[in-house]
Symmetry: C2
Subunit: 480 residues, 2 copies
């Protein structure tokens, strides 16, 4: 639609914010012109990326014993108001439905900002016995936040269109703890499939999920050095179980409160993937989520045009049969314009086939990630393309990993932290006391992201506020 409007150049990726906004538009991922702030439209191309990404998420959850279900969007005020901490965390952000037709509703209905208060009244009825555990259920839904801050497509939304939230129930605190660990592991695996390396940390106490014992989180480092929270897992203790009266019978016949966790991932997964891999020419997509994985460009001269087109169709057919998503661009555009278009859309591999290639029984494969050209023998085109896909995926991940590592700065002074977080994430010793953490944040003017989930604790260092010895470092970052 209106391709011609989009021939303007993409801003360089260095100007990340402009690049990001323009890219979403030029690559037809999101249309930001919907007439309500913070609500955006998924173009078909963007939605295809979403579909492929969420297929990965579903696959990984299903294979680890999760079951998909679906709970209502609307939460009655009385249920929503049950958990005191939870309300405090959300009350400024909740949309309220107050009218149906011309009637005023007896009980206002909240649009779920997250679904604890929709799901746990059901869990109260579903949970009966220790033999039911673990219960591991997830849903993929739209959730709502009345954001007053600056909104941004895929990142800060009033309608989160693609919130995958899992809610689990267990017999003991330790089982729930193990579940949080599993969740962080599964999310890491999901991001590995997207070629996105992550930071994993435990949020400071003042930044945990409202009503949780603790929150572990995954963050990506975005091209401008700010971190983007792209997954969280919360240990809920028995806090919600007590509020919603979720009890189970132990093997001894005792009634006991259950322990719970919940963990979520959203379309920020796509924001991170796009931002981390993209370049000045547009999207660079990992093959697994690319709506078009291979574009075939027939190189046509007057002589031999038919043979070339026939060969292209044959290659398309064979690759399609092998489960690969392929397009032939036989349009009238100049080759350069075709390259521009498909590069913008992040197609991982371009195959050029001309008369000379046919003579040599090859196609010229051009990788989107590196620009490398290489011939692939036509008789082995399926295997050739698949092995390129693997190489592309691995390269994207490794490149991103090096970039991530280069953006983590070990600091000892707060002034240094202030400086380094302009480019990425700083680490700094912290004694663990709340008042020292808050004081550091004040000095730095940015927040403690969290305590890395895995770190060598082999050095004694000093907390920059109180001077107490500690073996713990924390991440500090500017965040989205």
């Amino acid at each position: 639609m209106a391709e011609s409007e989009k021939e303007a150049a993409l801003p360089p990726k260095e100007e990340f914010s402009e690049w990001y906004n323009e890219l979403l538009w030029m690559a037809e991922i999101m249309d930001v012109r919907y007439p309500v702030k913070g609500l955006y439209v998924w173009y078909p191309f963007g939605f295809a990326i979403r579909r492929n990404t969420y297929n990965i998420i579903r696959e990984i959850l299903d294979n680890s014993g999760h079951q998909e279900a679906l709970f209502p969007l609307l939460i009655p005020e009385n249920e929503f108001m049950k958990e005191a901490e939870h309300i405090k965390g959300f009350e400024d952000e909740v949309y309220w439905v107050t009218h149906g037709g011309r009637d005023t509703l007896d009980i206002p209905l909240a649009l779920r900002p997250t679904s604890e208060t929709a799901i746990y009244p059901m869990y109260k009825m579903w949970v009966r016995s220790h033999a039911d555990f673990p219960i591991k259920i997830y849903q993929i839904v739209n959730t709502f936040r009345y954001e007053t801050k600056h909104t941004r497509p895929l990142i800060r939304l009033r309608e989160i269109t693609s919130f995958k939230e899992a809610h689990t129930v267990h017999a003991t605190w330790e089982d729930a703890e193990a579940q949080v660990k599993e969740a962080i592991g599964l999310y890491t695996e999901i991001y590995r499939r997207l070629g996105v390396p992550v930071l994993r940390s435990r949020r400071p106490d003042w930044d945990k999920f409202p009503g949780a014992d603790y929150t572990d989180a995954l963050d990506a480092i975005m091209p401008d050095g700010r971190t983007l929270q792209i997954g969280t897992a919360h240990h809920l203790g028995d806090n919600f179980a007590k509020t919603f009266d979720i009890k189970y019978e132990t093997p001894d016949g005792e009634q006991r409160y259950a322990y719970q966790t919940c963990y979520g991932i959203s379309e920020r997964s796509i924001a991170a993937t796009i931002s981390i891999h993209g370049d000045d020419k547009g999207l660079v997509l990992p093959p697994e989520i690319a709506p078009v994985q291979v574009v075939i460009i027939p190189i046509i001269f007057k002589k031999g045009a038919e043979e070339v087109l026939a060969a292209c169709k044959d290659v398309k057919e064979r690759l399609t049969k092998a489960g690969i998503r392929v397009e032939i661009d036989a349009s009238d555009l100049r080759p350069g314009a075709k390259y521009y278009k498909w590069e913008m859309k992040g197609v991982p591999l371009r195959l050029e086939i001309g008369p000379r290639d046919l003579q040599n029984n090859v196609a010229v494969a051009v990788r989107r990630d590196t620009g490398e050209k290489e011939q692939i023998s036509l008789p082995e085109i399926e295997a050739g393309v698949s092995s390129k896909f693997e190489a592309i995926h691995e390269n994207l991940y490794q490149k991103a990993k090096v970039e991530l590592e280069n953006r983590i700065f070990e600091c000892t002074e707060l002034e240094e932290v202030k400086n380094k977080i302009q480019d990425g994430v700083a680490t700094i010793p912290w004694c663990g006391k709340r008042e020292c953490g808050r004081a550091m944040e004040d000095v730095i003017g940015a927040g403690i992201l969290g305590i890395p989930l895995e770190q060598k604790r082999d050095r004694k260092e000093k907390c920059p506020i109180c001077g107490e010895e500690t073996e713990t470092r924390v991440y500090v970052a500017r965040t989205y």
Copy 2:
């Protein structure tokens, strides 16, 4: 969860309403205990049926040139109020969001009852040229109706959780007409895959979609003789295009209003499938949508137990590899209790494997739809199971088709119609005049469903109201 609570007997299917409600609960499709009227919870098992069903819907739409996208849930009041006919049709049923946090919103936001007014402001920007046509976009979303009538899971809902709505744009009225035809054809194909035969008719003018030129619809006949509307396709003319200013440039460079259609299908597709195929023992699912397609029951005696279990595992592995969804029930339940449980869940095929079967190198296959038992040779188990699936699917459809045909009654007198619609659908001549149609409805005490899309017009009959000659018959039915 709480299996034991569900050992109570299902009411006979003759008591359809009770049977339906109990079945949804006992087979773990929907939980109706959510604390808001008209909102229900999809159990994981029910959701798996939903997932398989919507995979079929997506496949058929994708293969016919449709693209999936996603538009916001919230529609600003000023957009929603633009199309006068449309508003009249929905204003009593719309939920309104009036508050965000503690703020009153400047502009109230409607929860989409359907998405014309969310999508068409975007189409105004997307549609440019005749070369863009046809635009065929769909989304699968939750929509909302403030139902004041009696609600019923999957059938009459306040949150329709699974509304597939397509919105297309064309150059001419005729192109849009052809698109409506295509839609009805695709929906028929979807229902063929679900084993559900349909009635296809054009709704009378007073029952068309608000703002449409005409509405074609698919109905199923439910076991109690009432019809359930399970798909609609609307020719929107250029009515919405004029309201939302959707214009395209013709090949001659003229600006002209576009023609549009929209068509929808919802979780009523699942209600119909369940209701039509189910029996006194519970669900009977077409293999393609069954979450569990085969259950293997090891028949265990003291001697040879290990061999039997090993053989069951081997069969499971082989069937799984062939893409079949299999469970082994090696629980401690009596065989009878196992049969009860899996029959309730509609598993199309049960395989029993005992020591004697192993000696004969066979499994005993029991069909859920007919109860027929037959041996399948173990070395050919994959092919044997697949061919049973085909037979089951075909049998379900043919049986339902005969039932449908037996429930259509050709009538000539209105009194006869009144009588026959207690058991199904009546047909009666109609001259086509609105006042005669309305008068018939008054006499009968039920509505004209529509004019069959295909009927032999080879007889001249008399309109029972005005006596005018006509070759047209209409469906009359009690409806859900």
